[in-house]
Subunit: 227 residues, 2 copies
DNA sequence: ACAAAAGTGTTAATTCTACACCCATGA
DNA sequence: TCATGGGTGTAGAATTAACACTTTTGT
């Protein structure tokens, strides 16, 4: 069965671009590669596809094992298959991006692997073609954030519109006018206003919102204009 | 070198969703699978990744060998990696879509392989998960057609705006108002009007246009609203 | 002159943008 | 009452959508 087709087989890997959100900024989780070649250089979280799992499973496993992250939002970015992209052997890699609320995570687990959060603006040199992967992931993230209201993954169950705007500003890396963002988002009709208010940020208090369950999958029209 | 990493290797395939354009309609090129399992059932054009090529190369090779198609526009759609998607063996497949001007192609070459063009609306039963692949490819095509002016691949060097609209109607599968489409497209500033007219379709004659070379890669703002 | 396709104009509706303004409340 | 975010309103610009209109030219 394994050798049914008369063709070469290849190492297939997944590489995860883990975007973390903290203090209104997107960060990237990198770790010092644990094995040769390029041991010690900064790398995306990666791992090899095993027999009994599909690529999504593999990506989840990588997040779990390498970073202790569970139930994380994952999205495919694309394939990277240049012949010499991995200097040790021919490896076809499938990139994913993940969205993580840094505050919710166990910092100790990350430290254990030597992982660190890096600011998107000041990334270190990275192994292989990981820099290209990050760039494509960023683009994919923006595209996706435009047709689906992301943020569920980065925000608490209850969140304010200001918090959501901060997420979108981090993703698109530019300021978004609050009044207009508010109107735009509410017009999408995917949020549910709660009767509770967040009083920690202001005296008046800001309404909490939640994502409407049933609107989860709906594809929306351009949320943020890209010019 | 080949066994440098201690992990399983996998068959990696490419499957090409070949969209052809004819008589203002998009068609799909399918062929009857030439080998077991499922020999004779309708299938996308596919092939296995070899050692000395990357995935783009493999896709080009598949188009060339299986369909005699050269210099074809290709775009990655995504990975399909369910464990049992191929009933013979575990195969990770990377899907591509291709755009082809049917009229330009050598019909004989296609016949030789038993390939046939199928209307998008009346596809036959297909092998494995090829139907899912087609659907994702269609979605990717529309997304791409929205941020880049496609059509170069499906149209002659010189084309009229009416022809371009027909391409877009085929891609989005709905009528587009001609006057508005015209204004929208021209405002993008990616086309060059020629001094020659196409007199075959009307007495008055329609201006020919070409794509501006230097605007090739530019990412445009939503060309067709998707509601 | 007229039929038929090419191309332009016009208007109303909608969406974007940039602001100004009002609101609620703890100190 | 006043400082501070939270939230609303509005006017002008830009875009979209629908449809009427003018232009050109072979017959």
């Amino acid at each position: 069965m394994e050798q049914f087709y008369q063709h070469p087989q290849h190492y297939v890997a997944v590489d995860c671009v883990i975007f973390g959100y903290m203090d209104g900024e997107l960060k990237l989780l990198l770790y010092p590669r644990a094995f040769t070649p390029h041991k010690g250089e900064w790398s995306l979280m990666g791992g090899f596809l095993q027999q009994g799992e599909d690529l999504d499973d593999a990506a989840k496993r990588v997040l779990s094992i390498r970073a202790g992250l569970e139930d994380i939002y994952l999205e495919e970015v694309g394939c990277f298959s240049a012949i010499n992209r991995d200097s040790a052997s021919r490896v076809v890699s499938v990139a994913y991006y993940a969205l993580v609320d840094i505050e919710k995570q166990d910092v100790n687990k990350l430290q254990a692997h030597g992982s660190e959060w890096w600011s998107i603006d000041e990334l270190p040199e990275m192994v292989f073609d990981h820099r290209d992967i990050v760039e494509k992931a960023m683009y994919t993230l923006q595209t996706r954030a435009n047709e689906k209201l992301l943020g569920k993954e980065l925000l608490p169950e209850l969140f304010t519109l200001l918090q959501l705007r901060n997420v979108y500003e981090a993703i698109f890396r530019r300021p978004l006018e609050l009044a207009n963002f508010r109107k735009k988002i509410l017009s999408l009709d995917v949020l549910e206003r709660q009767d509770i208010k967040n009083k920690t940020e202001s005296r008046k208090g800001a309404y909490y919102y939640t994502f409407k369950q049933e609107e989860e999958g709906r594809i929306l029209d351009r949320i943020v204009k890209t010019t």
